[in-house]
Amino acid sequence: MTIDRRRFLAAASGGAVALAAPSLVRAQGAGAIRIGEINSYTAQPAFLKPYRQGWELAQAQVNAAGGVLGRKIETIFRDDAGKPEDAVRHAGDLINAEKVDLLSGGYLSNVGLAIADFAAQNKRLYAASEPLSDALVWSKGNRYTFRLRPSTYMQAAMLVEEAARLKARKWALVAPNYEYGQSAVKWFKELLKKARPDVEFVAEQYPALGRIDAGATVQALEAAKPDAIFNVTFSADLTNFVRQGNTRGLFEGRDVVSMLTGEPEYLDALGTETPEGWIVTGYPHADLATPEHVRFRDAYQARYNDYPRLGSVVGFDTMNSIAAALAKAGTTDNEALVAAMEGLTFPSAFGSAEYRAIDHQATLGAFVGRTALKDGKGVLVDWRYADGAKYLPSDDVVKTLRPAG
Amino acid sequence: MSAPAPSAAAPVLAVRDLAKSFGGVHAVQGVSFTVEAGRMVALIGPNGAGKTTCFNMLGGQLRPDRGEIALKGRSIAGLRPREIWRLGVGRTFQITATFSSMTVRENVQMALISDAGGIWSPFRAARAQHAAAAEALLAQVGMLEQAERACGVLAYGDLKRVELAVALANRPGLLLMDEPTAGMAPRERVALMALTARIASETGIAVLFTEHDMDVVFAHADRVIVLDRGRLLAEGPAEAIRQDPQVRAVYLGSGTVSGGH
C-alpha cells in the first residue's frame, strides 16, 4: 500500500499556487479561466515534475499572448498521490469549492477512469492527459472525457508492428497489476496473435504496482525460457526489474519489447543499467528536429535550464489543446466546450493533432525505437514517429468498442 | 434471600481425588475433602502447596486432570467459571477483581443482571435494573454509603467487601474466597471474616477460604485443611491442626514470628 498522501496537494506540487490563487485572481482581474488539474505529483514525480513545467510553460505563453477569450488562464494543481480515491475527492473540491471551469490531468489509468466517471456525473469537461487505459475513451468512454496521449491499444499496436517481425515465438509478459498493465497486455496479446498466429505466451507476471519482488519475478520469467519478453512495468518497478534482470542475464539472447521505456524519465533513472536494444516507445528529445519541437525545446530549456521529458510534452500539449478548445468554443460553458473539443485540431510539440469526434481520442503519436547506452546514459536510437491516427482501429470497430457513442 | 437449610449431613461441596499437573509438576495430587452448609473451612499450606490450583479447579479457571468435584451432588469438574457460577458458586479473588469503570452499585447490579440473564438487551438503560436489590446487598456488607463511588478509588478493605457483595449476588450455596484478607490491616481482617461468618451462618452458605494469616484461620475456621506439595497433609478442627506436629514442621513453624500466639 502506498502512504497516505491525501490532500498532499500543498506539498510538492500546487500548494503555493492554490494558496496564492485568490491574490492572483485579484491581480489579473476576476475573469481568469480556472482549470482544476489533478495528477500524481508525489507518487510519480519523475514524469509529473516535467509535466507541470511543460504545462506552466504553455500557460505562460498563452497568457503572455493575451490569454483566451480575453481572459487569463489559471490552474489549480492537486496531488492525488496515485490514488483514485484522492483524485475523486479533489475533483469534488475543485468543482464545488474552487469553482474551476474544467478538469484535467490524470497519470495512472485507474485515477483517470475515476475522474472520468466523476466528470460525467457532474457534467464537466475532463481533459485526460496521460492515463493510457483504452477504457477511458472506449468501453467506459463518456461525453465529457477526452484523452491526449496514445492509448495502450495504440502503443501496443506500434510495438506489435515491430514485435511481429521478430523471430521469437515464445513470449513472456510482465506488467503491473492494474488497469494500464492489464489493458496493455490484453492488446499486445490480441494484436500479436493476429499478426503472428504461431506465437505462444509462456509466462505472465503481474507484480503489484510499486511492489515488484524483482529477483523472484525475473527468476520466474527465466524459468519459462521465453524467446522474447514484453514488459509493461515502469518507474521504480522497471528500475528494480532491469537491475535484477541484468544481473541474472534474463535479457541476454532475448528480444525485449517494452512500453514507455524509451521515455527519458525512465531511461534517466536506469542510467548505466540501461539495457541495449530493447524495442520501446519513447521520446528522442535531443534528436527530434522538427520546427515545432525545436521551438518548444528551446523555450523549455530557456525557462527551466533543463531538457524536456515526455511529461513536459504532455503537459505542454494538454494545456495548449485546452486553450485551443476554449478559443474555438468562445465560452467556458462545458457543453459548448465538449462540442468544440470534438474534432478539434490543436498544435502540439510533435506537430498538430486532433481530438477525434468518434471516440474523443487524440491522434498524437509516439516514437518507436531501440534503447542504447551512450556516455553512461540511456538514449533512444533508430527511432521513427508513429502517427497515432494510423494505429487506431477502423471507425466501425471503434463504434462497437465505445457504447457511449 | 432464600437459602438452603443448613445441613451437616449433606455436604455442599464434595471433592474427591482431585489432581492436576503442569508439565510434569504435580501441583495437586489426589486431594479429597468436603465443605458443609453454613460452615467456614480454611485451606492452608506453604507456597506452592497447591491451594490456588485447587481453588482454580473449583472455580472452573482450571480443568482437573482427574477427580470429582460435586456441588450439592452435581458434578462441576471441568465446567467453565460462568457455568459454575450459574450453579450457585460465588467467588472472591486474591487480587480483588472488580469493574473499575463502574460504581460500587453498578458492580453489584452487573452481577444481578447477569444472574437474571439480562445481559443480552442492547437497548435498555442498565442503571435502572436491579438497583434496589443491589443496594440491599451493599447494605448487607456495609457498603451502602459508598454505593456511588468508583471501585478504583476505594480502600482495599472496602474493595474486598464489594467483592463479597458481588459474590453473593447469585444467592450462592458455596462461597470460595482466595486469600480474602491478604493485604488488609489486622482490624479489617477480623471485621471482614466476622461478616462472612455471620452471613454464612445466617444463610447457610458453605465457605471455603485460603489464608496465610493464622490468626484469621484459627479465629474463624470451623475446620482446617492443610495441603503440602499437592497432597492433603492434615484435616480437622482448628485446634487439632494447630497442635499437629507435622503441620508445625512443614508450615506453621515454631510460631515465634507469625502469630498464632
Partner: protein, 236 residues
C-alpha cells in the same frame, strides 16, 4: 554521627490521592527499623519515594547527609540503597545467576561486599538452582532471590517491603533469621511490616505510619510497652 537516612516532611501523591503527608523519621547506621502500619497507610509509598520510584511532591530525603529526593532510581541505587519490592519482581525469564548479574555493582566502601558464592552461603537453596529460571521457583525461593539480587549491589541500606507477606509461617521464620544475619554483617535495614511478631523479632526500632502521617517512633520495646499505640494503629 549523622543519621544514615533522614526523612523530613515527605509528601507524595498517587494521582490526586495524597498518600504521604509530611512523613519524617531518622534511621541510624546498622539499625533495623520497622515501618509499621495497615495496608494503604503509606509504607510502600515511603519506600518507593526513598527509592525515587514515586516522585516526592515535597520534603527532603537525606542519605548519608546527601539530599537524594527527586533523583532517578538508578542514581539512588548507585549511592548504596538496595530495594526489595513487596511483589518480589524477579526476572522470571532469567536464571538465578542472571538475576544476580543484573543486580551486580562494584564493591562499595563501608558496605559488605557480596559475591554469588557468599550469597549462596546465606541462601543455600539458591546455590542449588543456579541455572533455573526465576519463574520456575517457589514463592519463598523467589523472595530469597530478590533479596540476594539486591545484595549484589553491595548496598549500605536495604529497603525490605513487606518481606513476610504471603509467605508460609516457616518461610517467614527463615526470613527473620536472614534479616538477623544481615544485621550482623552491619547492614542497615528499613523494613515495612504489618506483623508485629515479625517486626518484634528483627527490628531495633519502629515507626508507625497511619494515613500518610508518622504517629509513633521509638524502640521496639517502647512500642511493645505502649498498649495505646498498638491498639490504635496496629492491633486486632
Amino acid at each position: 554521627m549523622s543519621a544514615l537516612l533522614a526523612i523530613a516532611g515527605l509528601d507524595a501523591y498517587y494521582g490526586r490521592a495524597h498518600i504521604l503527608q509530611g512523613v519524617g523519621f531518622d534511621m541510624g547506621r546498622g539499625e533495623v527499623l520497622a515501618l509499621m502500619g495497615r495496608n494503604g497507610a503509606g509504607k510502600s509509598t515511603t519506600m518507593k519515594a526513598v527509592m525515587g520510584l514515586v516522585p516526592p511532591a515535597g520534603g527532603t530525603i537525606r542519605f548519608d547527609g546527601q539530599r537524594i529526593e527527586g533523583r532517578e532510581p538508578f542514581a539512588i541505587a548507585r549511592l548504596g540503597i538496595g530495594y526489595v519490592p513487596e511483589e518480589r519482581r524477579i526476572f522470571s525469564e532469567l536464571t538465578v545467576m542472571e538475576n544476580l548479574a543484573v543486580g551486580r555493582r562494584p564493591p562499595r566502601e563501608g558496605a559488605p561486599h557480596w559475591t554469588p558464592d557468599r550469597l549462596f552461603a546465606l541462601f543455600p537453596n539458591l546455590g542449588r538452582m543456579r541455572d533455573r529460571p526465576g519463574g520456575a521457583m517457589s514463592g519463598g525461593e523467589q523472595q530469597m532471590l530478590t533479596i540476594a539480587r539486591t545484595l549484589m549491589g553491595n548496598p549500605r541500606l536495604l529497603l525490605l517491603d513487606e518481606p513476610s507477606e504471603g509467605l508460609a509461617p516457616v518461610i517467614v521464620e527463615a526470613m527473620a533469621a536472614t534479616i538477623l544475619r544481615l544485621k550482623e554483617e552491619g547492614m542497615s535495614i528499613l523494613l515495612s511490616e504489618q506483623n508485629l511478631h515479625f517486626a518484634g523479632n528483627v527490628a531495633d526500632r519502629a515507626a508507625i505510619i497511619e494515613k500518610g502521617v508518622i504517629r509513633f517512633t521509638g524502640t521496639m520495646d517502647a512500642l511493645k510497652a505502649n498498649e495505646a499505640v498498638r491498639t490504635q494503629y496496629l492491633s486486632v
